[in-house]
Symmetry: C2
Subunit: 213 residues, 2 copies
């Protein structure tokens, strides 16, 4: 399997956690999205028509979108299962992942922050406030879902004693928020999960600083 | 089943299409997100801790996030199946849905456009340009995925002769882009699917103008 990733992309990071949890070691290809390598004709034609990271290619099948890749990995390599089969827990895990992937992450990723600064000419301070605003709003919602999850399923992970795709989404989002200087003190449950993940090899190996690029 | 929706929300619209395709008629509750009804304490406590639409409640189980709701509906009411079981087609459908839900929609929804205008004080023209920019970029990627899909799976829907969750995501996104005055001429495959959907009762019934609110 070939895996296309950018070390500092939180969507790539989600997949790296999933790969590490499943003990898979694909060929790592760094794609520098800062210099636009994800938009080069060869990458778009052969790896990912969406012109984004991450992507995987295996036996001529290429796939983009971090959560689609994790679903695909979870079916092909079901141990350990990252998307539960049980109806209600599955729904809860997906609900949480979509909160992170649709409501928190997209508003704050590199292309949007660049557009705010370069095209809309907002000041660096306004750009950072924008990041902090949507992250705080999203993490507050995440915290409410995690409190409910802890009550129903226990910990130390988001949804029980085993990590799920929710943890693959949460950890990179928290690191990104931390890096941008957001006030993390209100997010107690998220912080506890983060502290736990910080001692687990699969999560450590997936960190940006541990990537070849 | 109780269903919480805002007529003009494209995430609510996705679920309305899924419900209509499955022949389900839940109790419809209009939630006016323009006046902030989705942020009221009762709604957040009892219906959706994420303070968003859509949401469903059935037998005390409440769930938010449109794609999590469609996955849940698809397991509980598998006919017709909206998320394919076959590994590669499933991955392709999810990839497309996440492109729409994570890369196109979030950057352009009401809360972001309001923030741009009210907080960052960008002009209405800049705000509309921002919408058009990200929509055009996203739909160009969608068009590449749809061309590949037509080749592999045929039409008239996104991924074969039957509609899937991809069509639930595509149609509201196209209507939103049209309403905002985006130039839709480059998106030939998307336009053809849109034209087809416009004659199908489940898609017509799910349109904003046919909702009680």
């Amino acid at each position: 399997m070939d895996f296309y990733s950018f070390f500092n992309s939180s969507t790539s990071w989600r997949v790296r956690i999933a790969l590490a949890l499943k003990g898979l070691g694909p060929n790592y290809h760094g794609v520098n999205i800062r210099t636009g390598a994800h938009r080069e004709a060869g990458y778009v034609a052969q790896v990912n028509p969406s012109a984004t990271v991450p992507a995987i290619v295996e036996n001529g099948f290429n796939l983009g979108q971090s959560l689609a890749i994790i679903d695909w990995l979870d079916i092909k390599h079901p141990e350990p299962r990252l998307i539960p089969a049980a109806l209600e827990r599955r729904a809860r895990v997906l609900e949480f992942c979509y909160l992170a992937a649709c409501d928190i992450h997209p508003v704050n990723n590199l292309r949007i922050l660049k557009y705010l600064h370069e095209t809309l000419k907002v000041s660096p301070q306004q750009r950072d406030d924008c990041y902090a605003h949507w992250t705080a709003e999203g993490l507050a919602a995440a915290e409410r879902l995690l409190a409910q999850a802890e009550e129903n399923y226990g910990g130390p992970w988001c949804f029980s004693a085993q990590p799920t795709m929710a943890d693959c989404c949460l950890i990179p989002q928290l690191c990104s928020a931390q890096r941008m200087g957001c006030d993390m003190t209100p997010f107690k449950r998220a912080n506890a999960i983060f502290a736990h993940a910080s001692s687990v090899p699969a999560f450590i190996n997936a960190e940006p600083r541990n990537q070849p690029d």
